[in-house]
């Protein structure tokens, strides 16, 4: 149980601090905690938790995949927006028969996200501009471009928000629940995650990506085309981000709403989750689930127990810090054992 105890400590520490904060501001923990849990999993809320889990997990892949090759992809927002607007454009402008009406926009979104990310590859491999800088710098213009397209050429007329018209019925993602928020996006992303985990540990490409990330010169010496592998990894990550953009747009409310893809902060939640998982791929989905649970549950807590939203942010911030600290304590203990 040596492995378990630190995570128990992490949760206990986070709970203790959170409780203190609640008491300090006059919130009854006995109301707040059940509300947190209910807000995330009970009363049909599980559907929304899953609806937030899917894009966050996708964005976690978008960050983790290039990270394995040693490239920091901080441009998730841009790739997400590019994928979303491209998928919306295809769904709106290209008349397609039923199944293709879903598949083609998703594929186009994936491609768009991949292209945006792949822009960083030659900058990194040829010009030595690190991906962590270039992806970040490319992201903002990509978001702006998507926003421009949604505001002008693709805009729905006569509405107050910058958004595209509702996508045609054919292009809606098949829903798995009545309200339609859990779509086939869930199995799709879960499948992708599984594939990634498999590829990472059991395929030649996964091995070469890891070797490139661990020691690029070693991989190069071993005959791996490191630049190409790094570019693939970046493009792959961007592709997943683009796909996530497509999934969001093809799900309810079935349109590209300007800012709606980036506002929930999937990208940075995902980065936090991957970093929390600290280089252990199988932990990534767990970390994503934890953070999603907190965020969605936090809204429930806000609704039911009147915990102000700022407090939810405070609590999340504290939990991330504590988990980070305990993760290293565990890692150091593990190294010593």
């Amino acid at each position: 149980m040596k492995v378990l105890s630190p995570s128990v400590v992490a949760v206990a520490g986070a709970l203790a601090l959170t409780t203190l904060v609640m008491l300090a501001v006059g919130v009854d923990p006995a109301l707040a905690y059940p509300a947190l849990v209910r807000g995330a999993v009970a009363d049909g809320n599980l559907e929304y938790t899953i609806a937030a889990f899917v894009p966050t997990l996708g964005m976690a892949l978008a960050f983790a995949l290039p990270l394995r090759a040693g490239e920091f992809n901080l441009g998730g927002d841009g790739q997400l927006a590019a994928g979303g607007i491209t998928a919306a454009a295809f769904a709106l402008l290209v008349p397609l028969p039923p199944v293709l009406a879903v598949v083609v926009p998703l594929a186009a979104g994936t491609l768009a996200g991949g292209l945006v990310a792949a822009l960083a590859a030659p900058l990194s491999t040829r010009l030595r501009i690190p991906a962590i800088v270039s992806t970040l710098l490319i992201s903002a213009p990509a978001v702006s471009l998507a926003s421009y397209l949604a505001r002008f050429p693709l805009a729905e007329q006569g509405t107050g928000i910058a958004q595209t018209p509702r996508l045609p019925e054919h292009a809606h993602l098949p829903a798995l629940t009545e309200a339609g928020y859990v779509t086939i996006g869930l199995p799709l992303i879960v499948l992708l995650t599984g594939l990634w985990l498999y590829a990472d540990s059991r395929t030649v490409l996964g091995y070469e990506i890891r070797a490139t990330g661990q020691n690029r010169e070693f991989a190069w010496y071993g005959g791996v085309r490191v630049n190409r592998v790094a570019a693939y990894a970046l493009a792959g990550g961007g592709g997943v981000a683009g796909l996530v953009g497509g999934l969001i747009v093809l799900g309810p409310p079935y349109r590209f709403v300007d800012g709606a893809l980036t506002a929930p902060g999937y990208t940075f939640t995902a980065v936090a989750a991957v970093l929390l998982a600290s280089a252990r791929p199988v932990v990534v989905p767990v970390a994503v689930a934890l953070l999603t649970f907190l965020q969605v549950g936090g809204q429930g807590m806000e609704r039911e127990a009147g915990v102000p939203s700022q407090l939810t942010q405070i609590v999340q911030g504290l939990i991330i810090v504590i988990v980070a600290v305990l993760a290293t304590v565990r890692a150091r203990r593990g190294a010593r054992a």
Partner: protein, 494 residues
């Protein structure tokens, strides 16, 4: 007051399952050069690190001039007059030579660094000991030999009374090593106690006063060099004598396996690094490559292995090599940390590199097969490791080197290129490595060995080529003397 400058008394240190030091007593006197030898992983670096405050012993204590001291960090050790030259350089690549030397005890006027004074001290020291350096040069741009000088100057600058050197000659050319020993003698004559860790027994016998031998964390022998032979030391180190080298064979007449024709290489600045180099290596022969560092070895080997462009001038069995690493060439690189291994990846995964595609099946890269292959290599090349799943950084230097050799030699390549194949490995591993290279030769491989250790070339090579300023300036038979080689290496025409 004790006659000993420093004493380690009953020192033990455990790393997880490994008992790296087991009740070691060691004393070094003022004015003495005290050598510490032992196999890879015997515990030498650990012991020195304890004396320098980098590790804390689990048991035992340290005396300095007879008084017990407690070292919690290198800062404490420095305060007690200890200095250390580390096995892996501890230099700041982005700082100048002078800054690297004075850091920690900088001359200042007010808050300001007195750079002029620093340069003066460095110049004085380097003149006094004949260790030439440019105080203003950035360390990151210097060749390894010069970096070693910087490390030594740093310890001297700090007026260390006890100076620890962990394998200082592993990266030096013979001339540089000789120079270093002269310096050490001068320093010792000034009353400094010197601890010298090395694998080169000739050095021990030439430069040391006394020798302590470690084996598996314990002291297995104490000798005075005056009445000791290399064989005595080897026996204490590995518990047996080593086999004598295999006699050399005559050069075969077969067609060359590796043929370099009129190869010229320019670097990015347009500087010519290799000019019109031509030679060939036949199956069944070992060709040595000698030259002072920076004479073009790097460029030559990178081109031969396909890592550098220009490969149409290099033929393997008559066809040009494939760019981007030719799989037909086995390559044991010099720097096993930067190039030869990925330290955080497992031993099995390090052993896999280059074979990942051949081992793959349609469903991917089966873990079982990867491990199986690794276990097989570990057994065949007697690599000692807790398991094939530990990160390769957890292996001792010698075993990591064996792992790299195992990976490369097991490919059955026609051509083998080995750079500094025994750098930093103990005598037992060294003889094992040599045996492996000779075995490959005998099975018909064409072997090119680059080494800065001339003794190694003389032991192994059927022919020796000498590079000087990018040109092949001489070729000797395997019986060339070190003097002849040394002359050719420094441009004195043979």
């Amino acid at each position: 007051m004790s006659e000993f400058a420093a004493e380690l008394v009953g020192v033990s240190k455990r790393f997880g399952p490994v008992l790296a030091n087991d009740g070691i007593d060691l004393a070094v006197a003022r004015g003495e050069v005290h050598a510490v030898v032992g196999e890879n992983g015997a515990g030498k670096s650990t012991l020195m690190s304890i004396l320098y405050g980098l590790h804390r012993p689990d048991a035992g204590h340290i005396l300095r001039s007879g008084t017990q001291i407690r070292l919690r960090s290198p800062a404490d050790a420095i305060r007690h007059g200890l200095g250390m030259v580390h096995q892996r350089f501890r230099l700041f690549p982005g700082l100048t030579v002078a800054d690297n030397i004075v850091i920690g005890a900088e001359p200042v006027t007010g808050a300001r660094l007195d750079r002029a004074a620093a340069h003066r001290s460095v110049t004085d020291l380097s003149d006094r000991y004949g260790l030439r350096v440019d105080p203003a040069a950035l360390v990151g741009t210097l060749p390894v030999g010069v970096r070693q000088r910087v490390e030594i100057l740093r310890a001297l600058y700090r007026h260390a009374e006890v100076l620890i050197l962990d394998e200082p000659t592993a990266v030096l050319t013979p001339g540089e090593a000789d120079r270093l020993f002269e310096v050490l003698r001068t320093v010792a004559a000034g009353g400094v106690a010197i601890l010298l860790v090395t694998h080169k027994l000739t050095e021990v016998l030439a430069a040391g006063d006394r020798v302590t031998v470690l084996r598996q964390g314990r002291v297995t022998g104490r000798f005075t060099t005056a009445d000791t032979t290399a064989d005595d030391l080897v026996h204490a180190m590995v518990g047996r004598s080593l086999p004598t080298p295999v006699p050399r064979r005559a050069t075969p007449d077969a067609a060359p396996a590796l043929d370099v024709r009129d190869l010229t290489v320019r670097d990015a600045d347009g500087v010519t690094r290799l000019s019109s180099v031509s030679f060939s290596v036949r199956p069944g022969e070992i060709v040595g490559l000698a030259g002072v560092a920076g004479s073009g070895q790097r460029e030559l080997i990178d081109t031969i292995t396909g890592l550098r462009d220009g490969g149409d001038r290099v033929l393997l069995d008559g066809t040009p090599i494939h760019p981007g690493r030719d799989p037909r060439v086995a390559y044991v690189p010099e720097d096993r940390h930067a190039r030869g291994t990925a330290p955080q990846m497992s031993l099995a995964e390090n052993l896999l590199m280059g074979e990942q595609r051949t081992l793959a099946t349609r469903s991917g890269l089966p873990r079982a097969a990867v491990r199986e292959r690794a276990r097989d290599l570990v057994a065949r090349f007697s690599i000692s490791a807790a398991s094939v799943d530990v990160p390769i950084s957890a292996l001792s230097g010698g075993n990591a080197q064996k792992a790299v050799l195992a990976r490369e030699l097991s490919r059955g390549s026609r051509v083998i290129v080995a750079e500094e194949p025994t750098q930093g490995v103990d005598v037992a591993v060294r003889s094992r490595v040599h045996a492996l290279l000779i075995e490959a030769r005998d099975q018909g491989a064409a072997v090119l060995v680059q080494s800065s250790e001339l003794a190694e070339l003389r032991e192994l090579a059927d022919r020796v080529l000498v590079l000087f300023e990018g040109r092949l300036v001489a070729e000797f038979g395997g019986d060339a003397t070190e003097a002849q080689l040394g002359q050719a290496m420094t441009g004195v025409s043979a």
